[in-house]
Amino acid sequence: MHGLVNRSIQGFVQDNFGRARWVEIAHLAGLEFVEFETMLHYPDRMTLQVIDAITRTFGTPYDTVLEDVGTYLVANPKVQAVRRLLRFGGADFVEFLHSLDELPERARLAVDDLDPPRLELREHSCNMFSLRVDSRYPGCGHVLVGMLRAMADDYGTLVLLEHMGRVQRSELIDITVIETAFADGRAFDLGARAVG
């Protein structure tokens, strides 16, 4: 698994629960180090061990941990880069949803050795969508649910999101846009640069 993913999970634990908790989890996961490097690759099992250690430490279900990691990626002020790069997808939430089809290409522009999930958006009506997530990694859909929730919030849009389960390598997410101008949302200043 790409170091960027592992580092994000580390950041999620560290920023939310403190450095000491992360060191404890790294130990529990059997890692022989405490610092993931964003630019390196790690064996997949390490990522699974870390998630497993998080679920055991906090008693949170696996799916919830993944969803929380997704939310953290977008909503945490320390990692502005992901939110900003996603906001380039569209001026409003629905436009952003349509940009998800090209997310793997966008992700590769940013980090060319990343192995992002393949995404396919279906539009059932003007406010009902479903997103198919194809990935080698089971649970990827839950990370996306967390990210979508945070992005909707970012755009000030009220949505209902439901993970519909996994069939073979595909996970399906139902998306219902209830109100596009629900709240003000966060401003997206094109001229500002992401930090960190």
Binding site: E37, T38, L40, L85, R106, L109, D189, G191, R193, G196
Partner: protein, 331 residues
């Protein structure tokens, strides 16, 4: 060339950074994004008073500009922030012209300076993709820089912890400090040979450091050749070497090894067309003579023997003898 009637609203959508100019070179209409370049109404202003032409240079009046149709215009905004722009001029049948502008490579700075957002660019413009790429690249570079800094730190740390002398590939002082206590604790006999190069300083001073380094590597090769793989051969200082022979306390054999090393070191070493001449002085201490047997003591004894070799005229090896050396040097 047949003129096509262009609807102004249509052009605003397709080219939001265009300016429509009259036959006299005055702006009659500005696209919505072009209008944001100057903080006063653009319509009615003279084009060449708003923009400085960097290339082509020979433009004095608007009539000159009208001769540069379809060629790249390089412009600069006359008012702050003096943004550089690319332009393309197309004359109109009615006498005026349309100039379409682009930020070109200034785009990342311009979005901040003019407070632009995605609606300020034509939907088919690649500006948003370029901004995405710039930001993605910057984030990746920042991560890469952090990793490089950490790796550099780790390398320095690893070097500090290393047991190898990077110049000669021999062991270093740290290695000696690691090996000696183990030999002492092990209880078996061993011996320590301390070697200083003679005349090395003059090689360094007269022939330069490259020659000095070459000599050190040649000496290292001699030391390796004259010892067993199980012996420890270390460079412990500039021109100082230390050899540790585990399970070897035979005086005759040690003297033979030392003599062979010295005679080989005396052979002039070729370097860049000439030769470097050095010699070596050696002091030997054997564990069964050292009393008490400690690290400091056996190193001190070999040092005294080495001093005796130098004192006696260099280029020789001396075995430490407690009856002679302790008193003679008064340590």
């Amino acid at each position: 060339m047949s003129a096509v009637a262009i609807d102004a609203g249509m052009l605003d959508l397709i080219c939001p950074m265009h300016l429509r100019l009259s036959g006299t070179g005055h702006v009659t209409h500005a696209g919505p994004t072009a209008a944001k370049l100057v903080d006063r109404p653009v319509a009615g202003q003279r084009f060449l008073e708003l923009f400085e032409l960097i290339h082509p240079r020979d433009v004095r009046a608007f009539a000159d500009l009208m001769t540069h149709v379809g060629v790249p215009l390089r412009l600069r905004l006359r008012c702050p922030p003096a943004t550089r722009l690319k332009g393309l001029l197309v004359p109109q049948a009615c006498g005026g012209a349309i100039v379409n502008l682009s930020f070109g490579i200034s785009l990342p700075d311009a979005v901040g300076q003019f407070g632009l957002n995605s609606a300020d660019f034509a939907l088919t413009d690649l500006a948003m993709e370029m901004l995405f790429l710039v930001e993605a690249k910057s984030a990746a570079m920042a991560a890469s820089r952090k990793l490089n800094l950490r790796l550099q730190g780790a390398m320095v740390e690893a070097e500090e912890k290393a047991f190898t002398d990077t110049l000669t590939g021999l062991k270093n002082r740290r290695a000696v400090n690691h090996i000696l206590p183990r030999l002492i604790a092990g209880g078996g006999g061993f011996s320590v040979m301390q070697l200083d190069l003679d005349f090395f300083k003059s090689v360094n001073d007269t022939r330069g450091h490259a020659a000095g380094d070459h000599v050190l590597r040649e000496v290292a090769a001699i030391l390796r050749a004259e010892t067993r793989d199980s012996d420890c051969v270390a460079r412990t200082g500039g021109d100082e070497f230390l050899l540790i022979f585990a399970e070897l306390t035979d005086r005759r054999r040690l003297q033979d090894i030392a003599d062979r090393i010295i005679s080989r070191c005396r052979v002039p070493i070729p370097f860049e067309g000439t030769t470097c001449e050095i010699s070596a002085s050696i002091g030997i201490a054997i564990s069964d003579v050292t009393d008490p047997l400690t690290e400091d003591r056996i190193l001190g004894d070999s040092d005294l023997a080495l001093y005796a070799s130098k004192h006696a005229g260099r280029g020789q090896a001396t075995l430490f003898d407690p009856a002679i050396h302790t008193d003679a040097v008064g340590v």
